[in-house]
Subunit: 472 residues, 2 copies
Amino acid sequence: MKLYEQLADSLSSRIEQGFYQSGDKLPSIRNLSQQHGVSISTVQEAYRLIEERGLARPRPKSGYYVSTQRGLPPLPSTDQVLQKPLQVSQWSHVLHMFNRPDNDLITWLSVALPWLESTTLRPLQNTLSDLSRRVGLRGLAYDRLNGAEELRRQLARVAIDAGCQLTPDDIIITTGCQEALSITLRTIAGPGDIIAIESPGFFGALQAIEASGLKALEIPCHPEHGMSMEALELALEQWPVKAILTTPTFNNPAGHTLTDENKQRMLTLATQYDIPIIEDDIYGDLAYSYPRPRAIKSWDTEGRVIYCTSTSKTMAPGLRVGWVAPGRYLQQVMHMKYITSMSSTTLPQLAVAEFIAQGGYERHLRRVRAHYQHNRDRMQDWVSRYLPAGTRASNPQGGFVLWVELSQQIDANKLNERCQARGVNVAPGTLFTAGKKYRNFIRLNYAQPPTAEIEQAVQIVGEEVQMMMDQD
Amino acid sequence: MKLYEQLADSLSSRIEQGFYQSGDKLPSIRNLSQQHGVSISTVQEAYRLIEERGLARPRPKSGYYVSTQRGLPPLPSTDQVLQKPLQVSQWSHVLHMFNRPDNDLITWLSVALPWLESTTLRPLQNTLSDLSRRVGLRGLAYDRLNGAEELRRQLARVAIDAGCQLTPDDIIITTGCQEALSITLRTIAGPGDIIAIESPGFFGALQAIEASGLKALEIPCHPEHGMSMEALELALEQWPVKAILTTPTFNNPAGHTLTDENKQRMLTLATQYDIPIIEDDIYGDLAYSYPRPRAIKSWDTEGRVIYCTSTSKTMAPGLRVGWVAPGRYLQQVMHMKYITSMSSTTLPQLAVAEFIAQGGYERHLRRVRAHYQHNRDRMQDWVSRYLPAGTRASNPQGGFVLWVELSQQIDANKLNERCQARGVNVAPGTLFTAGKKYRNFIRLNYAQPPTAEIEQAVQIVGEEVQMMMDQD
């Protein structure tokens, strides 16, 4: 056996034993060469072999990482959606996630809270503190109804990354993305109107649809490529759809992203039926690769796309700084914003503006993108390892939530109750539909650093799933 | 002429000449005695005479103040309201007030912005700044859906002043009072439903009624005692009213306050017709005398009153910290809050909680109550002095807005255009109705210190009114 083969075997077995886990950075070529007293080229040969075996992958200018393709769970199956508008109701579950006890010992895999401990967020915290003194009375007064101008200027700059050409005047600041979605829905639709939406879909949007007396028409989605354009076209033919509500980039919960071609196709369909698209792009900036996917809004020449997003996932949700670019609906959405809550809180707007202007947001994004990608690999690995064979999981290319399909016999709400008794909480799939689907699905948050505690939480989920299967 | 008569004449003429203006503190007895070389009792005699002449009033433990009763304008007449539900629309005016240019030279008498320069607000600003560092990640995370617990605890304490017995769990924090009103309206009423509301009434509520597809049924009000209970009873008999929306204490814009007896009578009527009362108490804490008037909520034993208020007028609107105590509608309002904007911004909530807990709010209230009372006197005086004879004005016992009735021939919207050309802005009366009433009314804000600039602005309003009357 040659030197490089020995080295490759040694590294391979460490990976197999879990010493290096999925997504981990492997030792550098220089380090291995020194440790093992072999030449650089021997280490390079060893890595080439490990790569061939599918155990590691190189990342440019960074080194080798444990491959995730190895034990990657298969993708969830395409759902057979019942195409009929339905009422929504999962409120008690949502409330439970929000109003969790302050000092409990539960590991919350359910809530889509981003990673807030990152040191790259510190400048934002400092700015928040400094600004309060620096801006004086301005922090206490109402800001303009559409929000602080310096913030809108910065957001217009950020939107260029999504391919959007916006001016500050195209933008209205909102209290989080939820307010953007809520005022938009109420602007363009009234009781009884039908909104086409992805299935599964974000429960905040589903709840808003219900509370406004609207009906959700759920369109089936491909696990990687998102909403089926065929199904959408059929839906538009069959039902008087008032608007399409979509999260086409790193969908929550399913993780899929519509191809550029299909994003354009959706816009064409909307034009054909003369209806608006409400595009929720809240996870878009959290792409693992650069440049990030384009927003549908980027192809919109007639103001048909109402672009809703927020800093809640990319910075911090407690700031409640969201925004909407309502296109041709600007005046109506502005009015709805006024009657809903008037201006949004002043200080966080100014802090976010400064954070972006000084390059802090870009630095933070670079950091969390790598962090979330790494965590995804780890979480996928744990799902493969600890959940029973046959479990499927999404393969998101951005964001920080994993959509997991369990055995058909599992009721995820019951599973969640059992897990809670053992100190773990997951988001059951039924939250993400107006119908009665996704009973055997769960959503897991992988934003937090992958500690032993989280690994154990996934292990507990796996054990409970196995026990439910055994009892069945 | 006796010594005390001479002194009284001298002081009287100084008051008449405007050297001491309405609400000003007059020199102390000790000072006058020293200045004029007369005895304390001579000065006391002089003041007694001035008081008899109606030119000054004593305030306990403080001294003599220039009386405001002297030239007090007569109250506006009771309105003959057309009792029929109507659509609302004055949006462009509202938008104009909110989106005023940053650096313009206009004196804004229109916007109901409180006095933010008070040094008693400094601790709040400092807390905002310190907290951002002190609470660390908590400031970045979502707070509970109903708001930070420490804030709800403090607000429950504050509500005792209004006679309300609330627990922290009765309270939901909102993005300003506007969100409280907006989510409440959407919770209890749907398109086509009729809401009984004071006439004139707050435009934010009127706009919310319109945008939710509801109809405003305007109930006439007495200029001092508020909503006519006879008219309300008639309205409830004749129309299927879904809820009563009222600002019963220091009404905006009209300044009136419902008597305790009528507050209870309104509650009895609501009980009889089994409908909720939405009580907007945003100005209640700004009473010029202590204790402040009781809220209707304080008599509510069956959770029928939905109590909405905010720190926007009593502290600072830019914080957007409002709240609602929805009584029996707690769960529904909580759901509506969730779908509207999820949690509210975290940091301002914690800052307000600390400001109240440390006694800062009480100190601030004491300061601004005296400030606003003084300014009211001054503004009433200027209205008497600079606006044509026949002008009427409200006599609010709290808050900081004056409701002014001009000659019938004046169109306040045209007046406002003319004033704007001269650098002054007022709120035209038509903003405060869903109908076409109050064409000849304006609302003036007297929150800011009564500078020569503001005096001149009132003078300009008076000149323009006179010119319009002359041209007519």
